[in-house]
Amino acid sequence: MATVSALLAEQDDFRDIYAQHQARVLRLCRLLLSDSDEAEETAQEIFLKAFRSYRSGQRPEAWNKWLTTVTVNACRDRRRSSWWKRWRGRTEEFNEFRDPDHGHGSAEDEVLRRETYKLVWGSFSKLSARQKEVFALRHLEGWSTEEVAAQLGLSTGSVKQHLFRAVHELRKGIGKDL
């Protein structure tokens, strides 16, 4: 299978789209899959799909929304197909954080920050798939409640409920019960 970088060399015009959205798509994949390796593979597949669409002349009006929709669907497919990996079992422990922007504080601050991040990710990974999707789109992607509802096929009330439960669980996870 061709890699995205090879395709980018082939088609310069697509490079801007990739540069503009790659980090966001990868972050969304990480959030929805809670696994860096799978997220990278999925993001790669998404941009291959986007590239094929681009080359065939099917270019969406807004790449931002199109890519987000494709990402949500791709992650959903990935979760369904990864039953074997879940069956093998894995710990809930997140033991490595690649965060080059931090690490300038004291060692104590750094340990505290890492522990907090572990707690947040631990809580986030325990949310239901729907809660993750709602939280990521509504809070992190900045979509409106109506847009999230339309994307996920839910009512606006249901979106609000999912968001409330997600926030409640995340705050509980870091020891800040509502």
Binding site: R88, G89, Y117, V167, I174
Partner: protein, 158 residues
Amino acid sequence: MKRCLSDEALLQCYTGEGAAADQTHLGGCPACAERYRALGADMALITQALEAAPPRQRRARASGLAGWRVAASALSLMAAFTVGWSLRSSSLPQPGGGAHVVSQQVAGAGQPMQLSALEPGVVQAGAAAPAAYAAYVQDAFEGDLCSEPDNPLEPGCL
């Protein structure tokens, strides 16, 4: 003054979807304002963690829960095989079934012996038939063989 905001209403205010009355209350209630501030701080921390810290999960391939799952699966397979095998055996015709009855009778002390145990086919086919035959021969040499006095069908009783 209106009662303090629920957690849900507070979150809606945070996301910019709060009712006008709730927003007004938030401006005049120090307790709700404090809760709102704490919510904002938590959300900022959560956002920072989720944006800046991609997780690396440590997989537990051959240990812990995975090991239990493999063991449970193996046991289930063995149990299924055993049950299937026993059902298969019981559904087959039992050769020398009559000899089985004879051997049980011989094994029981003082029980009458049936001559059908000595029929060639029965003796050869049944797994317990040789033992029954040996017991019969031993009894024949020791006497006290007759189940009924003067039974012409029993050798040595006449």
